[in-house]
Every structure is written in C-alpha cells, then in structure tokens.
C-alpha cells in the first residue's frame, strides 16, 4: 500500500509541476534565413521567417541590434510575435565588411548551441544587408525560400563545396586549409541577388579577393569536391566556337617537394555543347582534348594565382604538407609559405562521353 501511495504522489507531482522543457512547436517562429552585419561588438542581425495566419503562410522579417549575435536575436525577439527558433536555419548571410573582421565569435553561438542546426549554408554578401532581404528587383518568391534553393543549386552545379556552417567552422579553425564561401551581389540589371563567385578567406578573415564563378567551379574540381554537375564552358577562339564540358570524375595527385608542389589532374569529362559536330573523328577528338587540357590548365593556374595572392590555401595543400612534410610545414606561417610556393599544375583530359548525339 505504501508503494502505491508513493507512486500516486509521484504522478500527481508530475501533473502539478508540468513539463519543464516543453517548447510547443506552435509557439515558435521557424527562421530559415538570417543575415548578420556590423562589426564585433555591434552586430545587426536580420531574420526572415514565415508567419502562419488563418491557414495561410505569409513572410515577414525582423531586425535586431546588439553587442553579440545572441543579443541581437534577443532584441529581435522583442519585435516578433513568437520566439525566434534557429533549429531550422537554412542560410546564414554575412556582410563582406563583417567577414573582413574577426567574425568567428559571432558564429560560435550558432555552431555550439545544441538546438541549432549546423548544416545551414553560409554565404557572403556585398553591400548593405537590408537590400538582400528586400531586393530592389521583382522577386518571384520569398527571400527565405529563395536563398536556400539558390545555394542548393550552387552545391548541385559545383560552384562551391563545403560551405555549411559546420564545414566552415572546421575549415576556419584548421590552419592547413582556408575557407571559400559563395559570394552574392545584387544583379544591377534585374535587381535580384546573384551568386557571382567565391569569397576567399585567409585564416579566419575574408581577404576581399573573390573568384569568378567559372574559377569557383575550377577550384571545386581541383579540390575534387564536385557534385552532380560541374559544367564549364570554354571559348575556342582559334576555331571560333564554344565548348561546354561536364567533369564527371577527378583524380588528383599532389606531389609535394621540398619547396615546390606539382599537382596533376586526370579529368574524365563529357562534352555537352560543341557546335561543329565532328567528334566522331578520332583526330578531332584528340584536338579537342588537347585544347581542353590547355584551357583547364589556364583556369587552374588562375585559381592558384588568385589564391596565392589572397594567401588563401582553399584547396588544402597544407593538410598533406602538415601530415607528411613537416620540413615545409615548419617553415612558419603556412598561409605565407603557400603564397610564395611555386605550384605546377598538369591536366590530363579523357573524353569519356560526348553527350550530344553524334
């Protein structure tokens, strides 16, 4: 009998005290998009979120200011109906100005709060954050829906790789590799945000140097991080034609010497666009392959050059150097070493498919 009484008392206490950590989903506002600008110590954060009224989804946004990201979020909480919840965060936009300063602490909250999602995408935007939340052009969809889809496309077409929050944090804190994030601008003609390339980071700061979108693809190919498609178009001036190829498979081989690096690539490609339909001839195929090899090499060289200019080892040569070539690694600050390192690129192209009917 005593035990039964005890059990009844325990159950009653539970009912009386209620559910301490209950957070009803209906009382939360899910925030898929957040934009951060300002500088360390004076952060402005913008939130875009759907609101649910009378069975309809509408979109709205809110802004908060504070000395840290968390403070800005609390500030924004005071101006929205329901509490903002970051558990479904899909995209973090960061202004280029903030990225140039020591911004890692303002992201730390997103990364380490257990409830938060850490697979959200990160991107750098140029200029005022507010214009990205209310673009001057006529948007077909809401921003909180637009950016996630846009960045998913970036991944799918290999304009960038490894730019989720957790990848970014991991890359940033690893001295042997540097970060590249998608870079957005407002398209002057249409007034709609557009991905124009990748922003290069050195250590934990944005260098101000960006890769163009075709260079971004090249850098993804060079890091062997390609997704479903990696399409790149070359202008063949000698023949007055264009050729588009899709890189299907990359085999990279980095040879690291005492003070040089030679990187050789074997690319399996398929031809997707080539107007002079003469690929059925073996000679022409060889000609095209030779052209592609030089073109790829040019592109790759350009990527290397830009990244060295920015002291930004986005391809991660440093990781291999640190693991197996301690002499080179210990020469000092790796980013400085990398900037002055002669890097030889060699490309072999294998035409596996010609996806246009021949």
């Amino acid at each position: 009998m005593r035990i039964q009484k005890g059990i009844i008392i325990v159950i009653l206490t539970l009912f009386l005290s209620g559910c301490w950590d209950e957070t009803q989903y209906k009382d939360l506002t899910i925030v898929p998009l957040i934009g951060i600008e300002g500088e360390e110590g004076d952060i402005t954060a913008m939130f875009a979120f759907p609101t649910f009224q009378n069975g309809q989804i509408e979109y709205s946004s809110s802004q908060g200011k504070g000395i840290s990201t968390r403070a800005a979020r609390s500030d924004a909480n005071l101006q929205t109906m329901e509490a903002l919840d970051m558990a479904h965060l899909e995209v973090i936009l960061m202004s280029a100005d903030l990225a140039k300063t020591d911004f890692a602490p303002s992201l730390d909250m997103f990364f380490r709060t257990p409830r938060n999602r850490i697979t959200s995408y990160m991107a750098i935007v140029e200029g005022d954050m507010a214009t990205y939340f209310n673009p001057p052009g006529k948007m077909k969809s809401e921003v909180s829906y637009f950016y996630p889809e846009l960045l998913r496309t970036v991944v799918l077409y290999s304009y960038g790789a490894n730019f989720t929050l957790q990848d970014a944090m991991k890359t940033m804190f690893d001295p042997a590799i540097d970060l590249a994030l998608p870079y957005l601008q407002i398209n002057e003609e249409t007034g709609i945000p557009k991905v124009v390339g990748s922003a290069l980071f050195s250590k934990q700061r944005y260098t101000g140097i960006t890769l163009s979108s075709s260079e971004s693809i090249s850098s993804v190919i060079m890091a062997n991080k390609i997704n479903k498609y990696a399409r790149i178009t070359f202008e063949w001036e000698a023949k007055q034609t264009q050729i588009t190829v899709n890189v299907m498979r990359v085999k990279k081989n980095w040879k690291i010497g005492t003070d040089t690096i030679s990187a050789s690539y074997d690319l399996d490609i398929s031809v997707e666009e080539y107007a002079p339909h003469n690929l059925h001839e073996k000679k022409k195929r060889e000609e095209v392959t030779a052209f592609l090899e030089t073109s790829f090499k040019e592109h790759f060289d350009a990527v290397i050059k830009k990244s060295q200019e920015a002291e930004s080892d986005i391809l991660g040569f440093g990781r291999k150097v640190r693991a197996f070539h301690s002499g080179l690694w210990n020469q000092g600050d790796w980013q400085k070493t990398y900037a002055d390192l002669p890097i030889e690129v060699e490309v072999n192209v294998r035409m596996k498919l010609t996806n246009i009917a021949e």
């Binding site: 957070t23 989903y25 209906k26 898929p32 649910f52 919840d85 479904h88």
Partner: protein, 463 residues
C-alpha cells in the same frame, strides 16, 4: 438408508424436469431418473433394451456398454451424474448406479468464427460442444499420440476442463505442470475460459495475454504439432493454447496459405504495425511539443501550418481523438452490424471532419490517430489488439511529460516487463530472448516449408 423415489427427488430439490420412476429389471426393481431437458428419451429406450438383455444373460459386466457404466451408489455421485445430463438407474439392494450417457445436444453448426476469418484455408470453427471440438481437432491429427485428458475441477466436480497434447512432441514436464495447476483449481463458480486463463497465467496484472485464444481447429492442430497444449471447456467454443510467445499473436493461418513472399510481406507489415500502434502518437506528441528540431525542413512548414491555431496541447488533442476512436469502436461493436457500420462512418468521416474544421484538433493529429487505429486493427489476435491499444496511453503520457526521454523510459520498462513474463513457465519473449536465430528470422519472414522440412530432417526432429 436405501434410496427411494422421494429421496432422489429431494436430492435435486424437487425440480419438475426430473423424470423418476421405478423400473423392472431382471433381478430387482430399479429407480430410473434423468432430467427430461437433457436426455433424449427415444435413444434411451433402445439403450435400456440393450442393457436389459445383457442383464438377463447374467454376464459379469452387464452394465457396461458403449454408452453406460456403473458406479457404487452415493448421494453425491447421483447428483453429479444427473447434473451432467446422464441417466441414472439406481439399484437400492445392490447399491449401485448404472449411468447411461445419452445427452440431447443443442449445437450450432461448425461455422467459421466471426473474428478469425481467413481468406483461404479451412473455414471450420469450434462450437459450444466440447466433444465436437475434440473431434474437429482429432480429424486433423490422425495419430495415436494425440492425447486428450479430462479433469474435473472445483469442489462440486461438475466442471470439466479438457487438455490435449501430442505425447511425442509435448514436453512431459510441461504436461505435468499443467495437470498440477488444473487440479489445484478449487472453485465452485461455473467459470468461463477467461477465468480459466487467469488461473493458468502467472502474471495477472500484465497487460499482455500470456495464452493464445482461438476458435479455429486448424490453428489448434498446427500449434499442437509444435508441442503446445490446448485447453478446452465444455459450453465454450474457445480453445486456449499455451505456452506461447509474444510473436504467436502476430501470425495467422493465412500466412501459411499464401505465397512465401506475400506471407513474409504481411508478417513484416504486422510487426511494423505493432511499432506504429504503440509509438506513433507518442512520437508525434514529443516531436511537436519537445523536439521540433528533428522535423525535416520540407515538412516543418506544413506541420506548423496545421498546428498553429489549435488551442490545446498536443497531448490533450491526441487524447481527445484516441478516446473518440475507442468510443466509435466500442459502439460499433455493440450495435447490430448494419447500424454499427453507420456509426463507424458517421463517427469516422463526419465527426472527424467537423472536429478539424472546428479547430479543436489538427488534421495531422487526425492522420496520426487514424493511422494508429488502423495499425492496431491489423494485429490478428483480438486480445493482443486491445493490449496494444491500451499500451499507447502510458507512452503518450511519457511523451507529453518528457518527450523522447519519457518514451525511452517507457520502452525500457516495457522491455524488462516482457523479459519477466512467462507463459506456462516458458519465456514469453522467446525467439528474441533467449535468442534463437532460426526462429528469430521466423518472426519477420515466412520461409518456404521445403526448407523447414530439410532442416527438420537434418536435426532429426522427433516424429
């Protein structure tokens, strides 16, 4: 004191359906008595003529025939025989009773039981007559080692419980244990199979049925062949099978009549339905009130849209709907079939729709609860079905209090409880624990019989 007509009448408290008369017999006068309501008079005359001829021939065992036997006279015995529907001829001088068993039977036909339909296979079912039932089993097991044992239970010695098994397959210790347990029953109540089950079970307070109840002779026969024991009672079409495991309740004879792949698919489906029936509402409650972060982004907006303007907590919402569904089920079961169906439709469709548009319950919750209800109805055994439906409430409560934590605690308690359970002394959670891989596979898939046969030959099963 020698028995006479008055005395016999007194023994049965002067009931009017007693037939009692003096009867001439070759060597002395006897008293014949029987309940007219239980005995077939025409047949009795033929039997009497036969016995008389035997008595005239003065053979040693003249009283023994296919339908008669003799006992020394006592009052108790007489009462007992009469109440069992036998005809008693008392010979006061010789002090014996000759009992003739010619019961007039009121029996329905051996139709397929209502709640255990199969698509293909035998459509016979047990009826309220135990002898017929045993005959139905025996005709499926034409072998000498099929043993039927009768036991009189209770103090009045009038309730017969029958247990049957296959001697070469069933474990003798088990048989002995059953016998002891049945003999130990001392109750004067006229009891139902449900009461008998309570006597046989070890864990009365467990929500899980520990003995399998069926009205299908084919099911009984196949279970007997697997070494189980069946308990039968007179006046009840229910056969009680044991020892069983949890997973016996999820198999139907249909599995063995359908194709291997099909049978396996439905077996898997039933195990899946077990999981959804217990956990789905609890899972939903914990997701929307604790762990909304696990929702995939694509669904999250829809979920949010559905529940945004519901006034109640998800637990209350779920509770309202669950109770509602249980009400519909109970109501449609008690009512005659055509009305029952109407109730189900009115309840399910009309009220379900109205309750959503009234904004009391979200339409997602309707999906969850409907899915749960349907899953629980998939389980073939009616009792297990009830158990599963009851079990979901504690899980919902745990989920409402602590989210997943509550569910995990519940799961562990459930698991420990299942480990504790015994059915007739055998582990209830059997192929899982103690682990037996060959039988474990059998929970999820139905393997072809040919393989069973081959394996059986290799291992040398006693046959």
């Amino acid at each position: 004191m020698k028995p006479n007509i008055e005395h016999v009448k007194k023994l049965v408290y002067e009931t009017d359906d007693l037939f009692v008369k003096m009867i001439d017999w070759p060597f002395e006068e006897g008293i014949i008595c029987y309940f007219t309501t239980l005995v077939d008079g025409g047949e009795l005359n033929k039997q009497l003529a036969l016995l008389k001829r035997q008595a005239e021939a003065k053979t040693q065992n003249w009283a023994i025939s296919a339908a008669s036997s003799s006992y020394p006279y006592t009052d108790d015995k007489l009462q007992n025989l009469l109440s069992l529907g036998e005809t008693a001829i008392i010979f006061p001088n010789a002090n014996i009773i000759v009992a003739i068993n010619l019961k007039k039977e009121q029996a329905r036909t051996t139709d397929e039981p209502e709640n255990e339909h199969v698509i293909t296979g035998s459509h016979e079912g047990f009826i309220e007559n135990k002898d017929t039932n045993i005959a139905l089993i025996r005709k499926r097991l034409l072998r000498a080692d099929f043993v039927v044992k009768n036991l009189y239970t209770g103090n009045k010695n009038s309730d017969i419980v029958t247990y049957a098994y296959i001697a070469t397959v069933a474990d003798p210790q088990l048989v002995k244990m059953i016998d002891n347990k049945l003999s130990a029953i001392s109750s004067d109540e006229f009891f139902t199979p449900g009461q008998l089950i309570e006597y046989m079970e070890e864990h009365t307070w467990s929500p899980f049925p520990q003995l399998l109840v069926t009205e299908r002779p084919d099911r009984v026969a196949s279970n007997l062949l697997e070494g189980r024991i069946v308990l039968l009672m007179d006046n009840s079409p229910t056969a009680i099978l044991g020892p069983v495991t949890l997973f016996s309740f999820f198999q139907t004879p249909d599995d063995f009549n359908s194709r291997t792949l099909v049978g396996s698919f439905y077996r898997l489906l039933r195990i899946f339905s077990l999981i959804t029936a217990i956990f789905l509402p609890a899972f939903y409650v914990s997701v929307v009130s604790f762990h909304s972060e696990i929702l995939p982004i694509e669904i999250s907006k829809q979920v949010k849209l559905a529940i945004n303007e519901i006034p109640y907590r998800p637990f209350l919402e779920a509770f309202i709907l669950e109770i509602f569904i249980e009400l519909i089920r109970e109501a449609s079961m008690r009512l005659p079939t055509p009305i029952g169906q109407t109730i189900a439709i009115v309840g399910g469709l009309v009220v379900g729709d109205a309750i959503v548009s009234a904004g009391l319950v979200s339409n997602l919750m309707v999906i969850v609860v409907a899915m749960t209800a349907i899953s629980s109805f998939v389980i073939p055994s009616a009792e297990m079905n009830m158990t599963i439906r009851i079990l979901r409430f504690p899980f919902m409560l745990g989920a409402a209090l602590f989210g997943f934590f509550g569910m995990v605690i519940g799961l562990l308690l459930l698991f420990i409880h299942l480990l504790n359970l015994r059915s007739m002394g055998r582990p209830y959670f059997s192929p899982v624990i103690p682990f037996d891989f060959t039988r474990f596979k059998d929970i999820f898939v139905r393997l072809p019989f040919l393989r069973f046969l081959r394996n059986g030959k290799k291992k040398g099963v006693r046959e």
